[in-house]
């Protein structure tokens, strides 16, 4: 088991290396000269050379790539923003916690609302409740979050004046951005939970449980629920990673100083070190979440757990037989 976990942890390294190379190459190949952009009208050949050397842009593709990776690994240095000249790590430290809190809050709400509704809808399949829930979910899944955000902004912020429309200063100001993240997610999780649950309650072992004389509520809680939740772990892992990355659209509409707005302004200003850094950070979080999902699986699903334990046993056997042959 430990071996498996270790292997999975080590696997993050090549994936992250791949992401770095892809992201770096995309921005490297992008037309436009950042040095020119920064210098603007104050261009002279000397100043150009000095600035290029300062930014490390005088080296070739590989030189730049290696330097970039080296700085990140050894000093956690993602470089500085071309625009503000503030180190990117500093901005991360200020902004990422904000996006993470909104994201985690949304994920919690999604789980608290989406899972029970999905299960309810599956258990009461073909009922009026099921039809209304699935219809609602379909409609919410079709509304882009920016539409939802604007609607919330206009109705509750502007027309009714109940909730603040920007910033995160008071408790109230969290409501709209969190909801804009939550509602489409609830719809998705509900649909997925419903499908999984429907599949589970048609399994033979549920019939076996019924034939034992167990109450429906016990069958649901003890026999169906865990089997239904196992496949949902993957989806939740991905969702947490993506929501905590901060939504460019929602953060922009509500004027929140999180990762989304940072990335957005960087994109508009073609501030490549910032774009690279943001994408890398988010990809890293996704990798770590995937890792956690895999490890969680190995703990909660006995089939997967024993797969790894068995592998170890067979490997041992092979080595002993080899030793015997020798």
């Amino acid at each position: 088991m430990l071996r498996y976990i270790l292997k999975r942890v080590l696997w993050v390294i090549p994936v992250m290396l791949g992401v770095v190379i892809i992201v770096f190459t995309i921005t490297y190949l992008t037309p436009g000269d950042p040095v020119m952009t920064i210098l603007g009208s104050g261009y002279t050949p000397e100043r150009y050379a000095a600035k290029a050397a300062e930014l490390g842009l005088d080296k070739g593709y590989f030189g730049q790539l290696v330097a970039y990776i080296w700085n990140i690994i050894t000093r956690l240095d993602f470089g500085k923003s071309y625009n503000s000249n503030i180190p990117i790590v500093q901005e991360f430290a200020a902004r990422y916690p904000i996006s993470v809190s909104i994201g985690l809050l949304s994920c919690m709400l999604i789980a608290i609302i989406g899972l029970p509704l999905g299960i309810l809808s599956a258990v009461k399949q073909y009922s009026v409740l099921d039809y209304s829930l699935t219809t609602l979910a379909l409609i919410f899944a079709a509304i882009p979050s920016f539409v939802l955000s604007i609607l919330g902004l206009v109705i509750f912020g502007v027309k009714l004046g109940w909730l603040p429309v920007s910033g995160l200063d008071s408790f109230k100001s969290w409501i709209l951005p969190v909801l804009a993240n939550t509602l489409p997610g609830v719809a998705g999780i509900m649909r997925m939970t419903r499908t999984t649950m429907l599949e589970v309650i048609r399994q033979d072992y549920i019939r076996t449980a019924r034939s034992k004389g167990l109450k429906e509520s016990v069958i649901l809680r003890k026999h169906a629920l865990k089997n239904c939740l196992i496949p949902l772990v993957t989806i939740f892992g991905g969702m947490i990673a993506h929501t905590t990355a901060g939504s460019i659209i929602v953060e922009n509409i509500f004027n929140i100083r999180g990762m989304g707005t940072y990335l957005y302004s960087a994109i508009l200003a073609r501030d490549y070190p910032v774009i690279n850094g943001c994408v890398l950070l988010i990809a890293f979080v996704v990798c770590v979440m995937n890792l956690l999902v895999d490890i969680t699986y190995a703990f909660i699903d006995p089939r997967i757990r024993s797969q790894y334990e068995k592998k170890r046993v067979t490997r041992k056997k092979i080595t002993t037989t080899k030793a015997e042959v020798a």
Partner: protein, 322 residues
């Protein structure tokens, strides 16, 4: 009073475009401690009958249209859900066809057995687990393995666990739905032998559902042959095996190889079972019957006693023409 008496049971499955009559006007009786074999092809309605007894038919699309299922004189179709739960697993229990999927993959097998004991036998967790270990031993599995999960067991062993669950509360009636179909032939014999032994040990009556006449010969006291949702022949095992009267029963015997008779070729029954959504008028077997006459195509056949305890649903057999 018989242990189980099914009277005029009819079950349908209603889908958007058709009504499938799975069981039509079925009568069955099982005495305490006896074994009844219910034989028929796939789709004849055997499993539906079994699930109706436990009221486990999925509704919708299934529906029990009518009839009575009397268990010790009590109509199971009329008792409350609560009473029904007290009967399931305790007085009537069931062994399912596919042991691979019948056990919950994420609950330890010991717990899956102990669960049913705790539910029906008013005992502590520890006592229930103790009995579960005893049951495992009874079905020939080392009690240490109670902490294992189903996927760590072979098919035969899983079926043993299912049997242990079914027999844990010493039920009066055990319904075995093709308990050996999914197993290897060598394992089949072991499991059957064990079931026979346990049946005697616990003095349980059994409804053995199968399409294998060999299994019937080994385990049953009475046999009921089922075709397209109704019984076509019923009698003691000797009567049916030595003097089968219905052409379908005869066909079933003609389709199995025999060691002591010198036959050039097996004689499979030609054709397929009629579509249960569009059953023919008259005898259901007419299309495949070599003796079918005009009358068979017109009149529904009556289930008639041709000798004491031997019933046949075939007019020509009753008249002695076959």
């Amino acid at each position: 009073m018989s242990l189980l008496e099914i009277k005029h049971l009819s079950v349908q499955f209603e889908t958007r475009d058709s009504v499938i009559k799975a069981v039509n006007d079925l009568d069955l009786t099982i005495e305490a401690g006896q074994t009844l074999g219910l034989v028929g092809e796939t789709g004849a309605g055997k499993t539906t009958t079994a699930l109706s007894i436990l009221r486990l038919i999925q509704e919708p699309p299934g529906r029990i249209k009518g009839g009575e299922i009397l268990f010790e004189g009590k109509d199971l179709l009329k008792v409350s859900n609560e009473e029904m739960r007290a009967i399931r697993g305790n007085e009537i229990s069931m062994i399912f066809q596919d042991p691979m999927t019948a056990l919950n993959p994420i609950i330890r097998v010991g717990e899956q057995i102990a669960e049913v004991i705790r539910l029906h036998e008013n005992c502590s967790k520890g006592e229930a687990m103790e009995k579960a270990l005893y049951m495992l031993e009874t079905v020939g599995i080392r009690p240490e393995r109670s902490m294992d999960y189903p996927h760590q067991f072979s098919g035969g062993m899983k079926q043993r666990v299912v049997i242990a669950i079914a027999l844990a509360c010493s039920p009066k009636l055990l319904i075995a739905d093709e308990p050996t179909t999914a197993l290897d032939v060598t394992i089949q014999a072991q499991v059957l032998e064990m079931m026979n032994k346990l049946k005697q040990q616990f003095n349980t009556a059994m409804l053995m559902i199968t399409h294998d006449l060999g299994i019937v010969a080994e385990t049953c006291d009475h046999v009921a042959i089922m075709y397209a949702g109704e019984l076509v022949e019923y009698g003691t095992i000797e009567r049916i095996f030595h003097n089968p009267r219905h052409p379908y029963t005869n066909g079933l015997f003609g389709a199995i190889p025999s060691l002591d008779k010198d036959v050039d070729r097996l004689r499979p029954i030609p054709g397929l079972m009629p579509d249960p959504a569009a059953l023919p008028k008259g005898c259901k077997f007419q299309e495949r019957c070599e003796y079918a006459c005009d009358k068979c195509r017109e009149n529904a056949q009556m289930f008639t006693e041709i000798e004491p305890g031997h019933f046949v649903r075939c007019e020509r057999a009753v008249r002695g023409e076959i």
